[in-house]
């Protein structure tokens, strides 16, 4: 059943949200976001199957490309952050507040 794929997609998406919300390590947060994108991709592909329409595949492709671009920049930022503090705890980056 396609809806099962969608359920899985939703579950992964929500797990991604949980990862973002509950973790302080920049890597984990970043990978959780990647997880959410993957969940969406699963959605696209399964819906593509549902509609028998390959647009979903293209969409998933695009999302992967974006994810790759994002990953490149995110990793650069991570390196930058690590250079500053030697640590990747998001909570130590809270100089800007109030």
């Amino acid at each position: 059943m396609v809806s099962h794929y969608l359920f899985l997609s939703i579950i992964l998406f929500c797990l991604g949200i949980l990862g973002v919300v509950s973790r302080r390590n920049v890597f984990i947060v970043f990978m959780s976001i990647e997880l959410m994108l993957n969940a969406a991709n699963l959605g696209f592909v399964s819906l593509s199957r549902l509609h028998v329409n390959m647009d979903g595949h293209v969409l998933a492709l695009m999302v992967m490309a974006v994810a790759a671009a994002e990953a490149a920049l995110a990793l650069a930022v991570i390196i930058l952050l690590h250079k500053h503090k030697g640590n990747l705890d998001t909570n130590i980056f809270s100089l800007l507040k109030g």
Binding site: A40, H51, D55, L59, V66, T90, S94
Partner: protein, 470 residues
């Protein structure tokens, strides 16, 4: 031919960006040259955009691009605002980096890339195109923020922006999934057709999908409760970049937001009641954040949240049958002019390393630099909506639009919010004019930013005379 014309500004911008990128690779090009090149390219793109013929909405390269782009007067004017913002931000950058470190040669290239992303954003008529445009814009802006690698504040700002931006992006993609589920397509035209055929509220997938997309757009627009990043990111970014973000990004996001909402009247109607509350909360929360700030940049960021609230009022009051978006664009222009003006002024008044940043640092500015202070006062008054500035007319049109749409309460609350906002705008004017200067800052030689400030100050008045129909 019309097709070429329609996306010519986009082409110009992208080409310009690549040009600057290449130029940056040559050691012979130094800061000044690159700056002039960047500014010139923005000006060029602006004039290209200006000369593009406007008419009824057209889809350039419809066969080739499959109707994924749409241009209209709305996108044209939005593009003009964006490129104008880029131009003045570039002016501000030139001066800013005269006295601040952390300049990278790719600065203007990134600005142009961001601008091209924004232009795409305004024209996008398909969800994934929109997403990619959004990401082009965002990635460029991330780079702009954190270009000064030695500053931990910049890195922190980019961390927050990147993480939350990507998070919101994920929501957007998930939203697209559901839209795709409901409409079998991600093109606005198809979505509109599906809604027209089967209704919006009867199609759960569309409702859910639009929820996630709206969330992502609200995040970019800094609406409550997706606003928290704004203050910190604006604070952490270099002044000209903050100005660019506060104006150009907002313009692009609201343009695409409006485009998305007017896909079909039912879609907009379905969201009105939620946007209603969101706009109210956004305005008031923004005010409450702003009142507590001591740093000027943070205050301006928070006031940006408030202005998003006003713009959401305009979105609520959109008449999707005869959408012109003139109210939104006018407000955006008015807001952009005054905000850019302040940031342009800040970029040369800030001194070395943005030493002048808190309200107290501006004490007695009017005695030291009367013209700058007068310009800043004009910008603040415009943001506060005091006539005869553009900000006043913008607010007037928004309130009028809200009333006309029957949202009397919303309009009235908008008024209340602007009363509240007087408080912190006045605070800066009071600091500049009525307090004694404590410490004199050395400010670098006069360069382009003061000129930009002055032009913008004039624009504040000039824009208010542009007639707008509601």
């Amino acid at each position: 031919m019309q097709d070429i014309m329609a996306i010519l500004p986009l082409v110009a911008t992208i080409t310009g960006a690549i040009l600057v990128m290449l130029a940056a690779a040559f050691e012979s090009f130094r800061k000044e040259g690159i700056s002039i090149l960047g500014i010139g390219l923005f000006a060029f793109a602006f004039f290209v955009q200006l000369t593009v013929e406007n008419g009824p909405p057209i889809a350039p390269y419809e066969t080739m691009f499959n109707g994924m782009l749409v241009t209209s007067t709305f996108t044209k004017v939005a593009g003009l605002i964006i490129l104008g913002c880029g131009f003045f931000s570039a002016l501000a950058s030139q001066t800013y980096f005269n006295q601040n470190e952390g300049f990278v040669l790719e600065h203007y290239c990134m600005m142009l890339f961001a601008a091209s992303g924004m232009l795409l954003l305004t024209m996008a008529a398909e969800l994934i195109t929109l997403f990619i445009a959004l990401e082009i814009m965002s990635l460029a802006i991330y780079t702009l923020i954190a270009a000064d690698r030695r500053s931990v504040l910049r890195s922190e700002a980019v961390l927050k922006y990147l993480m939350l931006g990507a998070f919101a992006g994920a929501f957007f993609v998930m939203g697209s999934v559901f839209i795709y589920a409901g409409a079998q397509s991600t093109k606005f035209a198809d979505i509109g057709r599906v809604i027209g055929e089967s209704g919006f509220l009867t199609n759960p997938a569309l409702v859910g999908g639009s929820l996630l997309i709206v969330v992502a757009l609200l995040f970019k627009a800094a609406a409550f409760p997706f606003h928290a990043w704004v203050v910190d990111v604006y604070d952490g970014a270099p002044v000209p970049v903050t100005g660019f973000m506060a104006t150009a990004v907002k313009t692009a996001v609201f343009a695409v937001f409006a485009n998305f909402l007017v896909i079909n009247g039912q879609l907009q109607e379905g969201w009105v009641s939620y946007l209603f509350y969101i706009s109210v909360l956004t305005m008031f929360v923004g005010n409450l954040i702003a009142i507590g700030q001591n740093s000027l940049k943070r205050m301006l960021a928070a006031s940006g949240i408030v202005h998003s609230g006003y713009l959401i009022i305009a979105l609520v009051a959109i008449n999707s049958e005869q959408f012109t978006g003139s109210t939104i664009l006018f407000y955006l222009a008015a807001y952009a002019v005054s905000t850019l003006g302040i940031f342009a002024a800040l970029s040369y008044l800030g001194g070395e390393g943005e030493k002048r940043h808190s309200f107290d640092d501006f004490n007695g500015l009017a005695k030291v630099r009367p013209y700058s202070a007068a310009c800043i006062a004009i910008f603040l008054l415009s943001m506060a909506g005091i006539p005869p500035t553009a900000g006043f007319m913008g607010k007037f049109y928004i309130i009028a639009g809200a009333f006309k749409g029957g949202y009397i309460t919303l309009g009235a609350l908008g008024i209340v919010s602007s009363i509240l906002s007087m408080w912190y705008y006045l605070r800066l004017i009071i600091a500049m004019y009525f307090r004694e200067p404590e410490e004199d800052f050395e400010v670098g030689e006069l360069t382009l930013a003061p000129l930009g400030t002055f032009v913008l100050a004039l624009a504040v008045f000039a824009i208010s005379f542009i007639p707008v129909a509601i």
